[in-house]
Symmetry: C2
Subunit: 390 residues, 2 copies
């Protein structure tokens, strides 16, 4: 079976569609681009003939196909809508060159695949940004296999081929044996990421907090974060890139990840653990799958529980954190998972018809579903039937 999977990769003409917000890999923030670049490199290392559809300033093993010179988030004059569409079209117009397409660019490419004689298609659902896009995933479910990035981040209306956890190269992170004396928050400023809770926890526990994040919700930052920044108890470091991140994570007592909505996966969690740093996180979403409770961190239901757990972070074996990444969340393990998913997609060609139970979920009101939606748009005034396409 493992051999068969390996054989499948050898010479496989694989197209990987990356997002174009940032280059692949990204110099700073850009988790989807990072994963796309890592998959491209990993599959090329295992013998696949990889073409990565990404920005022109992307650098990976294999060849890059680009319609846009840099990430659309790197130049305010680049229209993401236009270049996203041209980027997707550039893949589908030459789909016949490939044996398999791996889509990491959200839901819209699925709608292109509906009218294309493209080869088997695998889509990693890196996250449902808002309820209405479920309609697109439902409508195109007959055309693409889906992978989730945690068991928790699955919609009951969809069939999934596999959970393909993200992975990192543990060697890119320096293991630090001794626990540090500060908590760290890493990510982007958005209420759902719980930076305000990290501040509250650090203050109540009497430990310093270092925040490294990119702005997203600026009002949230101005009203709930900025007033607490004092350069000492609460430090704001801006966006930290690769090297600085390694140091910042490794020397911490723990990574605080008290999200207020279910985390889909959480790359920073495994980056911290690779450095030996345990997690102090919310008991929701992917965290119970990533963190071994009491071994690689603590999961809490309340701020109070998190405050109480802070001292215990120093008692955890930091080797266990590192080992957790090496055995389960390494790049190699991620590539293993995708290799198996590719083999199955190639074997089956198209997804099987959905069960009556799945279809019923698609017809139910999915607006209030407890998914990790990042946006809360208004709900349609009327029921809208999901297209049932073969």
């Amino acid at each position: 079976m493992a051999d068969q999977t390996a054989n499948r990769l050898n010479g496989l003409r694989l197209a990987i569609l990356a997002p174009i917000s940032w280059p692949s890999p990204p110099p700073g923030y850009g988790p989807w681009e990072q994963v796309a670049a890592d998959i491209a490199a990993g599959m090329a290392a295992r013998g696949a003939e990889v073409t990565l559809f990404a920005t022109g300033n992307s650098r990976v093993a294999g060849s890059v196909e680009a319609v846009v010179p840099v990430g659309v988030n790197e130049d305010a004059g680049l229209n993401g809508d236009v270049y996203g569409a041209l980027h997707t079209a550039n893949l589908f117009r030459q789909a016949g060159r490939f044996d398999l397409i791996h889509n990491n660019f959200d839901w819209k490419p699925l709608t292109y695949a509906m009218g294309s004689a493209a080869p088997p298609l695998l889509t990693t659902i890196h996250g449902f940004s808002s309820p209405p896009i479920l309609a697109a995933y439902y409508a195109c479910a007959g055309r693409s296999f889906y992978c989730s990035i945690s068991d928790a981040d699955r919609d009951p209306g969809l069939d999934y081929l596999a959970t393909t956890y993200n992975g990192i190269d543990p060697h890119a992170f320096t293991f630090v044996e001794k626990p540090g004396d500060y908590l760290v928050f890493l990510g982007r400023f958005h209420p759902e990421k719980g930076t305000h809770l990290a501040i509250e926890i650090a203050k109540k526990a009497g430990v310093r907090l270092k925040i490294a994040a990119i702005p997203q919700d600026r009002e949230y930052f101005a009203t709930q974060i900025e007033p607490h920044i004092d350069g000492d108890r609460v430090q704001f470091l801006g966006e930290v890139r690769r090297e600085a991140r390694n140091e910042l994570l490794g020397n911490a007592l723990g990574l605080v990840h008290m999200t207020t909505r279910p985390e889909r996966f959480g790359l920073t969690l495994i980056e911290a653990m690779a450095c030996g740093t345990p997690i102090l996180g919310a008991r929701m979403g992917s965290l119970p799958e990533i963190v071994v409770e009491g071994v690689t961190g603590f999961l809490c239901d309340t701020v109070e529980a998190a405050v109480a757990a802070v001292p215990a972070l120093a008692t955890l074996d930091r080797h266990a954190c590192r080992a957790r990444v090496e055995t389960t969340f390494s790049l190699e393990r991620m590539i293993d998972r995708y290799a198996a998913a590719y083999a199955e997609a190639l074997e089956r060609g198209l997804p099987a018809a959905p069960s009556a139970e799945r279809l019923a979920w698609r017809d139910r009101d999915y607006w209030e579903r407890p998914m990790a939606f990042t946006e809360s748009p208004p709900k349609p005034a009327r029921a809208v039937a999901t297209p049932r396409w073969p």
Copy 2:
């Protein structure tokens, strides 16, 4: 030749892709939907087997294919991005059923066509909303024939199959022989539409102005329009629908259309003329093609010239306005033009390769091109090459 064109239509399996902001035809505003519905009806009347891809509440001869029950502008909960993509996918996934596709849904469907074995494709460019979408029209120029809606609204980087002026049914508008005593402005509130100039002209000329428009730029309305509304000299009627529009236009002295950017076509111009009402308009864009200077209206370069022309509006023969529509801008003439364009698209299959001159225009900076752009986004910091796809 005319016979050949007629034969081409008989039994032609024609897919028309309409926008989904509003139903086709729209109850009020919605010029692109109106044209799409009119083409569908006109082609069905001439023997084509028409499938209109539109909203579920669209009503036309032939069959309607819909993924969304009402216009996305009619229900704030309907995500235009998701339903626009599904709407387009719904056409391309069954493209093999058709002999010809007529796209009235802007540039994005072109990017779907790049990866599809769809039949010949004709796209009416109803307007370039902003410079970056030129990149999409350039990139996909090998896949779709283009029609412009006036000779003025052509980009020098594109080849056009034809200018297909919009048309209306003159019988839907009541001819009024006697000039009225007020000016009328009809459209949407946006600085480029020149509602503020219409107010200035009416005040200086000492005639009443009736404004019927839908809100678009709310700040513009609040600061430059609203303060002038007094219910007498300057009246605001809100959005007027079919019947009221007919009456409002017919009883006017003239339609003021002092746009500040080139008009692409201007449906309201021919609606007014169908009622016998002449045009007082800006000498730019499509207006010199639509208005016969001194016969069906006056074209002006300045507000002062327009003020001076107001009294002369009453001296024009209103029959000439009506006749202009009947001979040149009727639905029947529009259908004639599209029938000829369809015949040529079917004959040629795909557009010819562009000339070196066209290609050179595509490589030139098109950001500052004097097109009828409705948006002025920032320009990319670097030069971005347009994809050269076959």
